[in-house]
């Protein structure tokens, strides 16, 4: 059992998300940073897509009721029974009853906490991910709260010394964050001026950004002609241009359809970097070919 003694402001159970459901309105969901999520699982010997805690925005304290191994990925500071880890580590053994205090570093938005055997929550629609807008999945379909008790899966594997992670991951680079995009389905609705404004512009995240979408603040981009279209499919990474001209990048819990033109789409391999981006960083876009984007694509499952 994992007891939540103090809950961080935003923590949910996530796995790789829902593999089917877009045709009836359920977005793919799952970990905002699949690379860190996978890494945390691999460090404790779990299958890469095992349910783990996606942890954001602040400090919290857990207690494991049995001896286990735990991994915290995302530059977090960890204390065991109020003492910092002897040596900084991503993964470490934990004795039964130990209080594990996790304080995320300010350079990332999401950290991932995995325990050996994974977190045991019921499967809903083929996934163990929390889908907050629908209040289902994960642990009771909601954010973790103090007093919650999460089941731990059985673990009979010893973590390998060599960890291989197949999910594509680039380290978070310093300075402005450059995101690779491919042309969106409504690319032709944007003239040269609008495209230039987009590709030469420097954007920042607006505070109203969440697992559904990240709102950007920067130069205004406007399509030619009508500002909306009959609703059609969207996807995580799609850059919608709503009436006001300030882009919204759809994230894993974002709507599956929409009526705003989509100028471009952030490539799958880079979306996790945007997910981890903090408000003060500059965000810039650069175009790549579909072939280049596919070359660094990794299947979600």
């Amino acid at each position: 059992m994992i007891e939540v003694l103090e809950a961080p402001p935003f923590a949910t159970v996530q796995d790789a998300g829902f593999s089917a459901g877009r045709s009836w309105g359920l977005p793919p969901g799952g970990a905002m940073d699949p690379y860190f999520h996978t890494l945390a699982n691999r460090l404790v010997g779990n299958p890469p897509q095992a349910p783990a805690i996606e942890w954001a925005l602040g400090t919290g304290v857990l207690r494991l009721t049995r001896k286990s191994r735990i991994a915290v990925v995302g530059l977090a500071r960890v204390q065991l029974n109020d003492r910092p880890l002897a040596a900084p580590a991503f993964a470490f053994p934990v004795q039964a009853g130990t209080r594990v205090r996790i304080e995320p570093d300010a350079r990332h938005r999401f950290s991932y906490v995995a325990v050996a055997g994974g977190i045991s929550v019921p499967e809903v629609l083929g996934s163990r991910s929390t889908y907050l807008p629908g209040a289902f999945g994960g642990f009771s379909g909601r954010l973790l709260r103090a007093g919650d008790r999460l089941g731990m899966g059985k673990s009979d594997t010893t973590p390998a010394l060599e960890i291989s992670v197949t999910t594509t991951g680039r380290p978070m680079p310093p300075g402005d964050l450059w995101l690779r995009v491919t042309r969106g389905p409504q690319w032709d609705r944007f003239d040269q001026r609008a495209r230039e404004a987009f590709f030469s512009g420097r954007f920042q995240l607006a505070p109203a950004s969440d697992r559904m979408g990240y709102r950007l603040v920067g130069p205004s981009i406007h399509p030619r002609g009508k500002a909306t279209l009959p609703s059609e499919a969207a996807c995580p990474g799609a850059i919608q241009i709503p009436d006001g001209g300030q882009p919204i990048v759809l994230m894993p819990d974002g709507p599956t359809v929409g009526g705003y033109p989509k100028l471009a789409v952030v490539i799958q391999a880079d979306l996790r970097l945007l997910a981890q981006c903090l408000p003060e960083r500059g965000i810039r876009f650069t175009e790549v070919s579909l072939e280049a984007a596919r070359a660094c694509y990794s299947p979600p499952r």
Partner: protein, 219 residues
């Protein structure tokens, strides 16, 4: 009848969107659904999910399995091939009846803006058999059309932060039911107890594109 081949555009590196028209109309939507059926029947390798829109069909695929370029060409060819009308089949689908209590917070306002009485609004809304165009916005949320022209209003200026599940709303030429408690900008006419989305049900969404729906007033 359009002569140019339907445009196939990328939606990211793992999706293609084919556009069959530029407006909301039944005939175009029939072609969208027919194309989805034919594509499902051929089941190209690596194809994951199909998402119909009003006038588009999007194919999501796994680029590590699918031949993306071959899929694009196949999609364009299938979309350009004329299909026999499916009208008769669609007309035969049973009508899903949603018993609805017309006591929504916007009923009065809609009546006033449409120059109608509350009863007239209810009559107009419940008289038609609607078509499910697409699902989205929230799991199980069905965009139904076409609304009687007298009831067509733009969305509310201030969306509500929380619309209760089961709320029946209208916006533009569309009507629909909120399956979950979500923010929403539609005008709320009433409520239904029917669950449009239930994660424990198979399939979880009550309605599918092409289905027919009627609202039945209850006291």
């Amino acid at each position: 009848m359009r002569t140019s081949p339907p445009a196939v555009q990328p939606l990211g590196e793992a999706g293609w969107t084919v556009t069959l028209g530029d407006r909301v109309e039944r005939a175009t939507h029939e072609r969208v659904l027919a194309l989805a059926e034919r594509l499902t029947a051929t089941a190209p390798a690596g194809m994951l999910e199909l998402v119909p829109g009003y006038a588009t069909l999007t194919v999501f695929f796994d680029p590590t399995v699918a031949d993306a370029e071959a899929l694009r060409i196949r999609l364009g060819e299938l979309a350009a091939t004329p299909v026999p009308p499916r009208e008769s089949e669609a007309a035969e689908r049973p009508v899903v009846v949603l018993p609805t209590r017309y006591d929504g917070p916007d009923l009065e306002d809609v009546a006033e803006r449409a120059g109608l009485t509350r009863d007239q609004v209810v009559d107009l809304h419940s008289a038609r058999v609607y078509r499910v165009y697409l699902l989205g916005f929230a799991p199980g949320f069905a965009y139904l059309g076409d609304l009687d022209a007298a009831l067509v209003l733009p969305r509310r200026k201030e969306p509500r932060p929380r619309v209760p599940p089961g709320s029946v709303g209208i916006a533009g030429a569309q009507t629909g039911v909120y399956p979950l408690a979500t923010p929403g900008g539609w005008h709320l006419l009433g409520r239904t107890e029917v669950r449009l989305f239930d994660p424990a049900r198979e399939p979880p969404a009550l309605l599918q594109p092409g289905d027919r729906v009627r609202f039945e007033p209850i006291a």
